[in-house]
C-alpha cells in the first residue's frame, strides 16, 4: 500500500537577505509514517530546509505542501495557525521558555492557542516515556541539556502532529537516551501516520530511518 504524501517541497529557492547562501532544490518529500533523515555537513542548509518546511521561513519561489494543503499560499497568520496545530518542531536550541515549568513548556502550544485539550493527557504520557515526568513541576532553567532536549521532544509530540520536524533531536543525549528518544519519535510518527524529518550528524542512528538523504545530493539533484 502506498502511503499518502505528507510533506512535499517542490522547486524551492530560499536565500537569506544579505547572504551569499542560497538553498535551491527540485524536490523533497516525506510520506505518512515515514522517517526521513537528512545528513550533511554543518552550514549546508539542513536547518533552513526544516524551517522552510515548517513555514517559519518563506521561500522566494517554490511550493511547500503539507497534508495536501499548500503552505506557501497561506497567509502568515494561517501558516502560524497551521504550524501550531499540525507541525511538531524540535529545535536545535530546544527553544524552551526559561521562566515556565517543564509542564508549561510542553503545554506551550495550548497556551498559544491550540484547540486540543487532549494535549494534557499526551503531555503526561510523553513525559513518562522520556523519563522526565518527575521534572514536570520544575522550572525549565533547572534542567540539564539532555533533559531540556527531551522536553523539546515531548512538546513536539504532545500535539500529535501530522508532521514532525526535528533538528538534531539527540545531539545532547547519552547513547541510551539517544536511541530511546529516536525510537519514540519514529514510533509515534508511525503510530499517528505522521511524517518524521530529522536533521542529524549522528551516523550511528541512520539505520533506524526509512530513508536517509544526503543534503549535498539533494542540492545537486
Amino acid at each position: 500500500m502506498i502511503s499518502p504524501m505528507i510533506l512535499e517541497l517542490q522547486d524551492i529557492t530560499f536565500a537569506y537577505p544579505q547572504s551569499a547562501f542560497t538553498l535551491r532544490f527540485e524536490r523533497f518529500e516525506a510520506a505518512a509514517g515515514e522517517a526521513v533523515a537528512i545528513v550533511g555537513p554543518s552550514g549546508c542548509g539542513k536547518t533552513t530546509l526544516l524551517q522552510v518546511a515548517a513555514g517559519i521561513l518563506t521561500p522566494q519561489s517554490g511550493m511547500v505542501t503539507i497534508g495536501g494543503q499548500s503552505l506557501t499560499e497561506k497567509s502568515g497568520h494561517a501558516r502560524a495557525d497551521f504550524r501550531l496545530h499540525h507541525i511538531g518542531l524540535v529545535f536545535q536550541e530546544f527553544e524552551l521558555v526559561e521562566h515556565l515549568t517543564v509542564r508549561d513548556n510542553i503545554l506551550l502550544p495550548l497556551h498559544l492557542g491550540l484547540r486540543d485539550q487532549e494535549i494534557r493527557t499526551r503531555c503526561e504520557e510523553m513525559a513518562t516515556l522520556t523519563g522526565i515526568a518527575r521534572h514536570l513541576p520544575r522550572g525549565a532553567r533547572k534542567l540539564s541539556q539532555g533533559e531540556r532536549q527531551r522536553v523539546a521532544i515531548c512538546r513536539a509530540l504532545a500535539i500529535a502532529p501530522q508532521l514532525i520536524l526535528a533538528d538534531e533531536p539527540t545531539g545532547n543525549l547519552d547513547p541510551a537516551n539517544k536511541r530511546a528518544a529516536l525510537d519514540l519519535l519514529i514510533d509515534r510518527s508511525r503510530q499517528n501516520q505522521s511524517a518524521l524529518v530529522v536533521a542529524t550528524h549522528d551516523h550511528d542512528l541512520l539505520p533506524a530511518f526509512d530513508r536517509v538523504i544526503d543534503f549535498s545530493d539533494l542540492l545537486h539533484s
Binding site: 515548517a54 502560524a80 501550531l84 518542531l89 529545535f91 506551550l108 502550544p109 497556551h111 498559544l112 492557542g113
Partner: protein, 391 residues
C-alpha cells in the same frame, strides 16, 4: 488558568521585584497629581462645611480670618476680647440665636471652649455618654479628646495656664467630665466644652475660697472692718468646683465687661441677617460682623494659590514617569525577544503575540491604578479626619 493570562502571570511572577516596582511607580504616577487634588478638594469641603453652617460671626475688629479661625476651628489667635455686653445687645435684638464663645484657654492640647448649651443644639452635637454641663466646673469632651486621653464620665480634666511662667495668673481649674460627645468629624471632636461661667473662673473673674467668717479661716484674715473682711495671702482658693464648695464661688466686677472671644449668630430669616449685617456697617462699631463662608474662601484662596502649580508639577512628573515606564517596557520586550521568538516559531498568531507583549504592561497599569484608587480612598478618608486636626 491557561493562555495569555497564564503566560503573563508566570512572567510577572518570574520577576516579582520588577513587577512590584513598576506597579508602585504606576500607582505613584496616578496618585500624586490626583492625591493633591483630592486633598485640596477635601480640605476645601471640610473647611467650607463648617463655615457655611455658621451664618454670621461677631467679634473684635481686625482680621476676619483670625476671628473665623478662632471661633470656628478653635485655633489660638491673638484677639482682643469683646464684652459680654455685646452678647446681651445682640440677643436683645431677637433676630436669631446668639451663642457666646470663649476660646482663650486650653486644657492640655485641646482648646477649651466656653459657651452656652445652645451651641450643642445649633451644631447638632449629640452626647454619646453622660450629659451636657449643668453645673459650674463641669466639662463636656469632644469624641477625640475622650478617646485619645482615655477619659470617661466622672474623670477630671485640668485647664492649662497660658504659659509656664504665669505666676500671677489663675490656678488651673480641675473640671469634672460630665459628658462625652459623639464623633462629629469637625473641630468639635478635639475640644473641651465648658459653660461660659466656668471659662470666666479660669479667667480669674470668679473664684471660690474658704469662708472668712468661719473660725477655721481665722489665720487667713488680714483685717476686719464691720462686715468687710480682708484676706491675706494664705487664703486657700478652690481649684475645683464641688458640691460642697460651689456656693462659695462668686464673681467680681461688672458682668457686662466680662470677656468673650466672639458670638456665633444664627439669624431667624434673611431679613434678620441683613439687619445684623447693617448694624455693623458703620465705622463707629466697636466689633465686626463676619460671614465665615467668605472668610474661609479668602483663606483657601491664599492657602491654595500654589495648588495649580503643584498639580501641574506632579502632572509633569507623572508624564515623565510614564515615558520612563514606556522605556522600561520596551527594554523589557527586548529582553523577552528569545521567548517571543519561540512563540513565533511554534505558531502564535500575530494578534496573540501583540496581546502577550502588552499584557504585562496592562496588568501592571491596572494593578497600579487599583493601588492608586485605594490610596486615593485612604487619602480622602484621612483628609476628612486629619484636616480638622491639622487646622
Amino acid at each position: 488558568m491557561t493562555g495569555i493570562p497564564y503566560l503573563t502571570w508566570r512572567y510577572l511572577r518570574h520577576r516579582p521585584l520588577k513587577s512590584l516596582l513598576l506597579t508602585f511607580a504606576v500607582a505613584l504616577m496616578i496618585f500624586l497629581p490626583l492625591g493633591v487634588q483630592t486633598f485640596v478638594n477635601e480640605s476645601t469641603r471640610v473647611l467650607q462645611n463648617r463655615a457655611v453652617t455658621t451664618p454670621l460671626l461677631i467679634g473684635p475688629k481686625g482680621s476676619a480670618i483670625d476671628l473665623t479661625l478662632a471661633s470656628l476651628y478653635f485655633l489660638p489667635q491673638q484677639l482682643e476680647p469683646v464684652k459680654y455686653l455685646t452678647y446681651k445687645q445682640i440677643r436683645a435684638l431677637r433676630q436669631g440665636t446668639v451663642i457666646p464663645l470663649h476660646t482663650r484657654f486650653t486644657a492640655g492640647d485641646s482648646p477649651l471652649v466656653g459657651t452656652s448649651l445652645s451651641y450643642f443644639e445649633e451644631r447638632q452635637l449629640k452626647i454619646s455618654d453622660g450629659r451636657l454641663f449643668t453645673r459650674l466646673g463641669d466639662c463636656v469632651l469632644g469624641a477625640d479628646v475622650a478617646t485619645e486621653r482615655d477619659l470617661k464620665v466622672g474623670d477630671h480634666v485640668i485647664s492649662s495656664p497660658e504659659n509656664v511662667f504665669d505666676l500671677a495668673g489663675v490656678y488651673p481649674l480641675k473640671m469634672r467630665v460630665a459628658g462625652i460627645l459623639a464623633p462629629a468629624h469637625s473641630p468639635d471632636d478635639q475640644a473641651v466644652f465648658v459653660d461660659l461661667k466656668t471659662a470666666w473662673i479660669i479667667e480669674g473673674i470668679a473664684h471660690g475660697h474658704e469662708d472668712l467668717a468661719k473660725p477655721e479661716a481665722a489665720e487667713a484674715v488680714l483685717e476686719r472692718d464691720g462686715k468687710n473682711i480682708a484676706a491675706n495671702a494664705s487664703l486657700r482658693e478652690f481649684t475645683e468646683v464641688t458640691d460642697d464648695n460651689i456656693a462659695s464661688f462668686h464673681f467680681h466686677g461688672n458682668e457686662n465687661d466680662y470677656p468673650i472671644t466672639s458670638l456665633l449668630v444664627f439669624p431667624t430669616s434673611e431679613k434678620s441677617r441683613a439687619l445684623l449685617l447693617g448694624r455693623y456697617e458703620t465705622s463707629t462699631a466697636t466689633a465686626q460682623i463676619v460671614i465665615p463662608a467668605v472668610s474661609v474662601r479668602q483663606l483657601l484662596d491664599t492657602l491654595f494659590s500654589t495648588k495649580d502649580l503643584v498639580f501641574y508639577g506632579f502632572l509633569a512628573l507623572a508624564a515623565a514617569s510614564g515615558l520612563m515606564l514606556l522605556i522600561i517596557f520596551s527594554l523589557s520586550l527586548r529582553l523577552r525577544e528569545r521567548e517571543l521568538s519561540t512563540y513565533r516559531k511554534i505558531g502564535i498568531s500575530r494578534g496573540r503575540l501583540a496581546a502577550i507583549k502588552i499584557a504585562d504592561l496592562l496588568v501592571i497599569m491596572i494593578a497600579g491604578a487599583i493601588l492608586a484608587a485605594a490610596a486615593l480612598a485612604v487619602t480622602k478618608s484621612l483628609a476628612e479626619t486629619l484636616i480638622p486636626r491639622l487646622l
